[in-house]
């Protein structure tokens, strides 16, 4: 079974530039998550989708971050314009939507460096 795919794996940009990350979840997984992991910290949820609808985006900085999952499969996370403090690893995860608990499967992440 293929895992969660993310691209690119690494990205270096200058502040005020724009950047986009792509995620393809495990086939059949209805729920998709984007996390931000700053060096030395645990992952922090940015946004959660169920199919193509947003379930939770309470911690997404909406003035500069946006995300979409138009067809309920793959997803794109965008930052525009980037700030130095956005340097982090951006992790995508997916899960089935059954029962009280759904195990999240994580992709390898995209490491963003903002100069």
């Amino acid at each position: 079974e293929a895992g969660v795919a993310q691209s690119p794996r690494y990205k270096i940009i200058e502040k005020r530039q724009s950047v986009a990350f792509w995620c393809n979840p495990i086939s059949g997984h209805a729920t998709l998550y984007w996390y931000q992991q700053i060096l030395g910290q645990g992952p922090k949820l940015l946004i959660q989708f169920q199919n193509n609808g947003v379930v939770d985006d309470s911690q997404l900085p909406k003035d500069r971050f946006s995300a979409e999952r138009l067809k309920g499969v793959d997803s794109t996370l965008k930052i525009q314009p980037a700030k130095l403090e956005d340097s982090a690893v951006y992790l995508c995860a997916s899960s089935f939507l059954t029962g009280d608990y759904n195990e999240q499967f994580f992709g390898p992440g995209t490491r963003l460096t903002v100069l």
């Binding site: 030395g40 910290q41 645990g42 922090k44 949820l45 995860a93 009280d100 608990y101």
Partner: protein, 113 residues
């Protein structure tokens, strides 16, 4: 809001020695508890989880954890570590009613030869 504290940011240990990685969470009526492992340049992989039932949970790679409700702890243990266990370990908590996981700041386990 739920919070998770991992008391040790770095734990060095010699190969074949036992190890315990500590995790405490803020109190809640019901919680689901998890330990994830992250190898360099990889995503997180689930080691084990506590949902209900027996408080001693066994996971992959010989790890186990014990849920202690009175102390709001979920410490991870392994009786004998290997070089290949070198990685970062994250404790995470999900409230019974919450939709999201809250992660601790991680513990870097380094196994020395």
């Amino acid at each position: 809001a739920q919070s998770v504290t991992q008391l040790d940011s770095q734990v060095p240990v010699f190969e074949e020695a036992p190890v315990e990685l500590r995790c405490n969470y803020s109190s809640s009526v019901s919680v689901y508890l998890f330990w994830y492992v992250q190898y360099p340049n990889q995503g997180l992989q689930l080691l084990l989880k506590y949902l209900s039932g027996s408080t001693l949970v066994k996971g992959i790679n010989g790890f186990e954890a014990e849920f202690n409700k009175s102390q709001t702890s979920f410490h991870l243990r392994k009786p004998s570590v290997h070089i290949s266990d070198t990685a970062e370990y994250f404790c995470a908590v999900r409230d019974g009613s919450a939709r999201q996981l809250t992660f601790g700041s991680g513990t870097q386990l380094t196994v020395l030869p």
